[in-house]
Symmetry: none
Subunit: 235 residues, 2 copies
């Protein structure tokens, strides 16, 4: 079952600490690639697939947040853990905006890190099955191809969807007939939850409703203060 060693990209400029951490992780059966700065980290990231990234925040050439942002552009799903020097509130906040899964203040207990890693891997393992690999949805009379980003109604001309439209509709479809919390879309798609992103999301809901209008069995309902619900009515 637990076939393949999970691969971790560790980006840490302090050579001592980095090596120690790497060894520790490897002792715990992870495959670890160690990059010494953000620049190198990104190169390594591009070259391979990783199950987790651990990024130091303070680094020369390219700090951890910038690196995370670049990584996110290429891959929306890799979990990221930040290592921060002190409990800087802003740092933490900034980290979550980029879609961090966790953060740790240095110095930290290595066992805690290990637990966090395990938890994240676990989460990903169960998430992935249902979520991550599903790209085709039947939504009433529509077919959504989420990989190629198009929406077809009864085999007619496909409508092209923008990335945001596509992700939002996909998320709604994953929660078909169920509540899709506002906050979920904002953190997953917009990676930030504030007044403006929320407004932006509303704009996209409007766009989707327009697309879906031709099928009156399909509608997006609002649940005030909670989120939205993609409803597919029977014939």
């Amino acid at each position: 079952m637990d076939e393949q060693a999970k691969k971790i990209l560790l980006v840490e400029d302090d050579p001592n600490f980095g090596t120690v951490l790497k060894d520790y992780l490897m002792m715990n059966d992870y495959e670890v690639v160690h990059a010494k700065n953000g620049m190198e980290g990104f190169e390594k990231f591009k070259k391979d697939d990783y199950d987790l990234c651990i990024l130091d925040v303070m680094m020369p050439y390219k700090d951890g947040f910038t690196l995370a942002k670049e990584i996110r552009e290429k891959n929306t799903d890799v979990p990221i853990i930040f290592l921060t020097a002190k409990a800087m509130k802003e740092d933490v906040l900034k980290g979550y905006k980029v879609g961090a899964d966790d953060y740790l203040n240095k110095p930290f207990d290595s066992e805690v890190l290990l637990m966090k890693i395990k938890a994240i891997m676990q989460r990903k393992a169960t998430e992935t099955v249902a979520d991550s690999k599903q790209f085709e949805f039947k939504i009433g009379g529509f077919d959504l191809n989420s990989k190629l980003r198009f929406l077809t109604y009864k085999g007619g001309e496909p409508t092209k969807l923008s990335p945001k439209e596509n992700e939002l509709l996909r998320l709604l479809a994953l929660h078909e007939n169920d509540l899709m919390p506002r906050e979920l879309a904002l953190t997953k798609i917009w990676r930030d939850d504030n007044y403006f992103t929320s407004r932006s999301m509303d704009v996209y809901i409007a766009k989707l409703r327009k697309y879906l209008k031709i099928d009156d069995k399909v509608e997006i309902l609002n649940i005030h203060g909670e989120g939205f619900r993609l409803v597919i009515n029977a014939e």
Copy 2:
């Protein structure tokens, strides 16, 4: 499953280091041919098929980059790993867009090399199966002979394609009706991913579209921010 020992061409002028490295690789079940300079390296390369080349950069008679370029002329697919002295900055390397799969700074950890080799072999293994050996495609009313670089429409006069046109169309055809990521073409064909190569690719997309225009069942669609899709519509 893991049938044949992978064959590695090692070109390294330092006899001590070269021998040690060769032995180390052979201990890890690779078949290794060791050449002592670029000249000899190229001779050996021509004489056999290799799964990987490891080239020292600094060598008398013919340096690693020059050798790599010659190798590339004969074979666009062999992975190449460069061994460079620590002093050399990445900037210097970037000038040589030979399509290296990786770089290693001497002195390096032999385990790291081994991991890189494994990763590269793995990558190639999954890529190669479907891809590497296919040279004829039916694209709607067209026939593409990718070996001779001919594009024929309904048995008419063949159009000659330039190398880049040909490779790009072939890559699109390999992903027929599916997304062909921009980045894939840039790394595989242009061996570099920047503003200009990207622009260049667009120019070639335009050329291909012009060729394909006579058949209105065939079109190249853009998926904004992702890549292109060669669509072949039914009758």
